[in-house]
Symmetry: none
Subunit: 423 residues, 2 copies
């Protein structure tokens, strides 16, 4: 399997002023064509350091892909550094120079020396056309049969150059001997350590496909990666492992690959032609926002109320004042009344409610920060769940949102209807 | 100036499945305390490769900061790799182990062997408390007077550990000869090019302090960076430049440094003891969620309605059916009625509404995807604004939320009350 390292060039990344989205984009495309990325790097606009990074990467991998530093300014130094690393000089790429001159004639701007510099590429390298800008990219090969492919840092210029220039070149040079396919199982309601406990033996025993666990806020992904001589063979390798994982994680896998938790909820609702409305206190609209992030959500999501004040809880949701006074806004009784109230007022099949203490203030000994009550009302009754969440306000709000969606997914997906615990 | 390299650990980054935001965050904090980041790297969950990367980074820089790979699963290998790179073994950190046991007792979950593994740190290293999770970080020093600081990959856990553990340690170890201070001015309602135009001469002329413009979704930050022999001297250098920038960007700077747009809005509302309620359609609760992200927001935020269906717009907000029929849900009339309706129903001083077409479907020639109507109702009248936003559903919802908050900030901050355009 051919191996590559990616080098992103630009001082602003080292100052934390720019989040590098080029590297993950390039890495994703390389994974699709069976090129293994050993490591990725970011270096500043420093000719020496760029050259050193390219040299050491070439010691480890079959090739290096750089992005950034091909512009016209004095601190665009990638081309010079590649020449240093490979011990070659630069030559003018005439077609690029003429194309560049045309652009300037058209725009009526005057072409400067530093623009001319953009038409230079390492001697003997393959130029890569730049559909969206002036600076061409290039692929230079080394005496050791290794290569350096350089592209601009502007995503709009880099992406077509990668797709139309670098990827086809790599596919010609490294005809795919193995195909990679992946499958992500998205779980909710299991801690990472619990998942690890359930599948530790597979971790240890499996080589191909490999599995990995990724923890997120309050949910985890289990990823299956298979390599084979054909895509179909890779998919065939994944199937039995997926089947076994689904068995061990039964009742906790809400979707695969691109399927989100809100998407899974809408599928369940729309399959049974049910509608939902939500009443939120501590999450302040985050649950509604998550549910409406899904295209077509209007088929099953009717609306919601953010009942931050007690007055809104009473007026808009019909929560009883005496229960607010006796049990407090963060209580099972109030959660139940909020869920039943939003369901009734908006005339939906399902009503979801949440009330809790996100902090930083408002916590007491009996009701500490992070205490959350969830309730789901259906025609058959109301089901509630108590949570005690850790973290700061932001973390509690995020985890409460995911936990509420998880509770909702379980409930709307379960075969037996809610039986009101009180009745 | 002390130098550091950052190593982010996680195979998902090399597959392009995760955009690494930890590295720029860490780099930004290091820049503020005068630590020079030579390079940053991402490696997979491979003990050998992580160890090699740490070794080669230690050859170039004074220290290495790692993030990720401290979790409980078998593919969390950073700790083992650091031990390999430094040639030490691991020891149990008792306080972390006890704290971990408490967490599991509290949450009622069972603690597993692989959780215990998280309490291990390289022998002789300084443990770093994890406020938001179970795995402690650590700072190990080498025989060559260099160091490796390791933190978790979960941003929620990494950020406080960086601020409270790593940064103070670095400041003690590398007392600043040169103090760097920065000031970020957050602007709304000006395009990056417009800001460029207004301050181009300062860009060109200023060396210390330096200024930089960072564009975000629908808003821009202008950053001032000063270096001096003392913090006070650096701050003194910033003051006059900040004054000049505030003059040139007058009416568009809503906050500085950590101040968010929702925070600025609550300050304005609470200064004048006003309350607000929001009625959202296309943003589905995102505006309410943003406003409730601020601690103490309950003083000025009363609640909201997510009126996804026309029925909810009529029932909960008193929108007239004939206007929905005549002008459609995405229209100035409906936006006005939504804002006035939420203000009246929730009894607040201010009512904000938004209705638009987030896509991917629902667009027409007259009303394309991305069309958004905003309205703000006060006692004195209603003000509206029309937007045509670009991007996919997610992007449109995000930009619409920021634009609505910007419109709200302008309006609640403006001296003269709204005059109803219709009256």
């Amino acid at each position: 399997m051919p191996s590559v390292e990616i080098v992103a060039v630009g001082t602003e990344m080292l100052l934390g002023q720019l989040v590098d989205t080029n590297t993950p984009f390039i890495a994703g495309k390389l994974a699709e064509i069976g090129v293994d990325v050993f490591a990725t790097h970011a270096v500043g606009d420093n000719r020496q350091r760029i050259a050193d990074m390219i040299r050491s990467a070439l010691d480890r991998a079959d090739g290096v892909i750089t992005t950034g530093g091909l512009g016209p300014t004095v601190d665009d130094l990638t081309k010079e550094a590649v020449c240093d690393a490979l011990g070659v000089d630069a030559e003018v790429h005439e077609p690029s120079l003429r194309a560049m001159e045309e652009v300037f004639v058209k725009s009526g701007r005057q072409m400067r020396e530093n623009n001319r510099k953009q038409a230079l590429i390492p001697r003997g390298s393959v130029p890569l056309a730049n559909r969206e800008g002036t600076a061409p990219g290039f692929i230079a090969t080394t005496t050791r049969e290794k290569f350096v492919a350089s592209m601009p840092g502007v995503p709009r210029e880099m992406k077509p150059m990668l797709a139309e220039g670098v990827v086809p070149w790599l596919q010609r040079r490294f005809p795919l001997t193995e195909h990679i396919r992946t499958r992500s199982l998205h779980t909710i309601g299991l801690a990472e350590s619990e998942i690890d406990h359930r599948i530790a033996d597979l971790f240890a025993s499996l080589e191909n496909p490999k599995i990995a666990v990724l923890a997120h806020q309050f949910r985890c992904d289990v990823k299956i990666m298979a390599k084979a001589a054909s895509a179909d063979a890779a998919i065939a390798l994944i199937a039995p492992v997926e089947h076994e994982l689904l068995r061990r994680l039964d009742g906790h896998v809400y979707g695969v690959d691109d399927e989100t938790l809100p998407f899974a909820i809408h599928v369940l609702l729309q399959q049974t032609q049910r509608t939902i409305a939500v009443a939120e206190s501590c999450t302040g609209g985050s649950i509604a926002a998550a549910l409406t992030s899904v295209p077509g959500s209007s088929k099953s999501f009717t609306g919601g109320v953010v009942s931050y004040s007690n007055e809104v809880k009473m007026q808009q949701l019909g929560v009883k004042r005496e229960d607010l006074d006796r049990s407090g806004a963060v209580s099972e009784e109030v959660a139940e009344q909020m869920a039943a109230g939003i369901r009734k007022n908006l005339g939906t099949d399902v009503g979801l409610s949440i009330t809790g203490i996100a902090g930083p203030s408002g916590g007491t000994h009996e009701k500490p920060i992070g205490l959350v009550w969830l309730a789901i009302a259906e025609e058959s009754g109301v089901r509630t769940r108590r949570l005690q969440l850790a973290g700061n306000r932001e973390g509690i709000q995020a985890r409460a949102t995911t936990a509420a969606l998880g509770f909702l997914w379980e409930t709307v997906g379960s075969a037996e209807p809610i039986r009101n615990p009180k009745s």
